[in-house]
Symmetry: D2
Subunit: 368 residues, 4 copies
């Protein structure tokens, strides 16, 4: 084709590339997702350890990791029943890590949620209790009594790594009788679908069937930077909590209400009712040229590289049916609308988001 | 100073740079895909221009671009009927760019295919004729006579950018009567589905319906490095040709036989009969742990970031249902086989590969 | 030492690192130096070739390279006597490249200076004549007549690559009788000290002794991007011209007056009278803490990584005697003033700047 | 989940990451310098803290940091007299961190040297005692008695951060009477010239005058990765010890004998007797072209970007008088020898190495 077309091509492509928001890899590790209509999107990690159980750092390091990752809330959940450093730290008050973390957080706006890990063999396995009043009251030989005490204290409780091969050798999360009993008594409300480096689609299915809140956490014992190769752009699994405000109370209310999504491995997992608005809020569309083949710039204001399958009535002029919108970048999209339109709507399935083990939420982008 | 000194300068400087122990991003621009069973995978660009039509460089630059990109074959396809530099280059022999490119390629193993662009208004639009014997014979007012002469010379002919908005304002590739006549006479055999920065799913559909060979080319007038932002990892569109050997004859035979795939924008387009073996040849699987949850390392030896949808009987322990295998990296995949198995097979749909506008090839990975 | 000191250390170090101005490597290739008191610092390349002599690109590519590099002025200096593309471009008007470059520059603010390369065997070798009125008048068998015609046209003339081993086998630039005669007649005014990838300290010495203007140019035949590995942060040699304004007239006046510095290989070469203000203008100092060991942030607004030798009365608290101020970054400098001072002056020798083959300019940074 | 699972996670994840074919910046943090004739170059950090004094990590983290940095030896030197975590760790055995670190180092070849920090107000300030037999014996109100006990145990003792502004407000390291007395009694042998982020040229001068061994250490309380921005290529200060073999005994012998260099901020500090062989051992020269202007490739096998001032009889053809040889890269150097030579010697002053506050070692590179 001739020169004139070439020049248009250059200028559009340049626009697309110059749209980078980010600094060089490793420079900015903040985990970023936009708020959604009606809720703030709080980035949280509710599962981690310190020298007060079997972790390797003082609570202050967990706080600084969280600040560097831009988290809104953490809970340090040291094992209640497992204290391998007892020789050096002989009388651990189970509320101590919370106190030390609160002190370390100081004037920052990081929320520290009191928590602990109920650490039992299977069944029931390991559970985290958040928003507890006094962890020292959660020590009893009978796990049922411990769960009932947690409930009495108003705790939000979730099942940790139900797919952990040390307790579930085939890695397939499944309820046993005790889990059904706990559920029947209202003794837990959530379940981890991502833990550390692993995922469980069976846990996603259990969450759907039993209306459990989906959680994703680091379960950190060593250092976030090393486990997740932060220097090369990695990050920990987090639970995005959609809360009316950034307070412990609103956080707790959202967890009981199941308003979460889990973010790890470039994958979002949650109910479609939060995933669809989250992806739509991430994407800003600007029409930069009209006509028969209008041109749009779509800017992705989130950390996810969205993998979109075109489900619109229209084909694209500069992309095939799978469109990847890279994190914090602007992508040029030309649409073959076949006739000139004042406004139109693009529809996409978000392939790296799951509202069940095998289904994806859909989004709509209105172009005016 | 004169050219001879320049060349000394280049070779020494290159030596100096190649000594870097840590390769910075953007240093290695070679386009790499593995061979497939029975065929070599030749990386080709069959559409580009020089100062001898409306391009901005001497043919030697096109050759060096190709060498830097690691291409196996190129054709310089200057416009036959469009010579805007005629004032300075008054009597262009239409075979001249081929001669100069051959000379520039020298002892390298880059194949230079003689070619030219038949440049007409729509219909029929622009067509490239490759493997022509004498381009000067392809000048006649009647396009039909030109196409017939090309056929007489044994040329392989393909329709360029059928979706070019300068000739097809809505960007929707479609046959007109003249195209059907050309096809009926066997006067062209291929069609571009990617051209420069644009894609046409309608062209993919036309290729399927009419057994046309799918092509993807740069149509370069300026510089590859600038148009495709090579400094940041970009590359030109290329046609992968699956040929029995790296010779012009085998290349021509493969083109007439429709054995191509097109690579651009992290997308592969072609028939499933070549896409499936291409993706399978790209991936090497090594079992590094057995048991109930075996662990595999899958190494991707191609330039594509493969976006795979798990279609296996098994879930994964460390990934959700969409698995991205990054180019030239090794990815750990843990599989929940539920029982210990000596060997098993994983199945995936390759979402960034298309054998029709909306369908994807499937691959199988055998694990022993 | 105790915790309290550690925390101060962290915050200062972070300040230093966060001071990066630049985008990722390869993204921004503009060559940037600040203006100096009384003059604009114009970034220029006065030596390059196109298909109209022995180069490989159309003049428009030279213009776009210059625009991408952020240059203020270029001159395309095709060989007058060497026309290897004569077979295809049979009657080259020697003013043609200037016309085509002017047209390509269009509405941009890039200055195109008419020029040509007088291309003779040694002596006198190759010379560039800039600001010529009609290059076609510069063709005569006797080089003296050509130089006199250039002078008649008001040209600024400089000796190219006096150290070129094809003409000076030991690479040691030296005058022969003809050069002295040319100089005596006022027929040239400048000399290249950097050409393409090479440097001549003997040329620097000749410039000093004979009051010649120092020049540094690319002498480009192929592509800037390839010769200088622009993808990895490289750039061409340039002549910084310190002119009263950005006009051809002011540029010419500055060249005749010797107000240049040459920039390549992280090295600046020129008279101390321009180097000292150039480095001082590059550096902004901000005192961020007072006391016995005041802390400064020094921001380097130039492309040079300045290598400074401390020549102050004071030692530094966080650096040894050699301080490197990286391009477009902010560096924390703590000074041991031994007593509290309202204001003080730091002095440095700039080791990567040369005002003679072996001496460096000095700078002063006032701290208030 | 418990620690055992974490370790599986790490090892698999590491396997996955090591499969990358293109190593991104920041992936390889090993500190690398070559051995010198007669000695191994051991990379050491002899000053750091854990939760057992005022640090924030368990000793195992210090061991893993050291392994990731490729160190040969570390000493954890918790404060003897300062125990801010006493409330949680009530009865700290002062030898405990050594025991835990030894256990964490396991089968690795990292040497763990027993050590502790004698923590006093000025004078004498803080001193580290290495190779101690029982730290618990080093507690006495009178510092002299503590130093004598350290000597009785055979310890190697060095003065920490003599320029610490909390104890020396002007940052100028200087002896007081007590220091002279300690020295007269042979109670310390070394002095830090780099500590954490700071440098003292007065400490370098004291080392020279009093034959003290020069030390450089991190004094880490938090995390190496954060303090030194390891993600972007930073590293801790280290003491390079030139020992006959990699054993605690040889290390101790070298420290008493003063065979060290300190590496930080792209600066090496030490005696010329070790710096000259260290730089020479870092550089391999290969002649790739002879003639009047021979071409060399100089490969720098160290982490230092060497800043060299040409002190040869010859000028360079492609560099000015300051030559920077980047870490782990090969640099082309063309030499103007003026006559053809079978062999010749290049001489350079190493400007980023110091054998006194203001003098630099010289090196010779033989070219055959």
């Amino acid at each position: 084709m001739k020169q004139s077309f070439l020049l248009i091509g250059i200028s559009l492509f340049t626009l697309s590339l110059s749209g980078q928001e980010h600094k060089p890899a490793g420079n900015d590790r903040t985990i970023e997702f936009p708020d959604i209509p009606g809720y703030r999107s709080l980035v949280c990690d509710f599962h981690m350890h310190t020298v007060f159980s079997d972790g390797n750092v003082w609570p202050s390091i967990r706080v600084e990791e969280a600040l560097r990752d831009g988290l809104d809330a953490i809970s340090i959940t040291d094992h209640i029943e497992y204290q391998p450093h007892r020789e050096d730290i002989p009388h651990p008050d189970r509320n101590r890590t919370y106190e030390l973390a609160r002190k370390a957080a100081g004037e920052s706006d990081l929320l520290i949620i009191p928590g602990a890990e109920i650490t039992r063999s299977m069944p029931p396995g390991h559970f985290n209790a958040l928003f507890v009043e006094d962890v020292n009251q959660l020590m009893d030989r009978d796990p049922l009594l411990v769960f009932r005490e947690a409930k009495r204290q108003g705790a939000y409780v979730f099942w940790n790594h139900p797919h952990w091969t040390a307790q579930q050798p085939d890695g397939v999360a499944a309820f046993q009788d005790l889990h059904r009993q706990l559920l029947a008594e209202g003794l837990f409300q959530g379940i981890e679908v991502y833990n550390e480096l692993t995922f469980s689609e069976e846990a996603v299915e259990l969450a759907r069937e039993h209306h459990l809140t989906m959680m994703g956490n680091s379960d950190m014992h060593g250092l976030i930077d090393w486990m997740y190769d932060v220097a090369n752009g990695g990050h920990r699994p987090v639970t995005l909590v959609f809360a009316t405000e950034k307070t412990p109370e609103a956080l707790k209310e959202a967890l009981f209400d199941g308003r979460t999504a889990v973010w790890f491995d470039n994958t979002l997992v949650g109910k479609a009712s939060v995933l669809t608005p989250l992806v739509e809020a991430s994407l800003k569309v600007e029409k930069i040229r009209g006509g028969l083949v209008p041109a749009l710039e779509i800017t992705n204001h989130s950390d996810a590289d969205y993998i979109l399958e075109n489900a619109s009535d229209f084909g694209l002029h500069n992309h095939a049916g799978i469109l990847v919108l890279k994190a914090h970048q602007t992508t040029l999209v030309e649409v073959k609308t076949r006739e000139e339109m004042e406004s139109f709507t693009l529809r996409f399935r978000v392939l790296n988001a799951f509202d069940s083990p095998h289904t994806h939420p859909e989004i709509e982008l209105r172009v005016d």
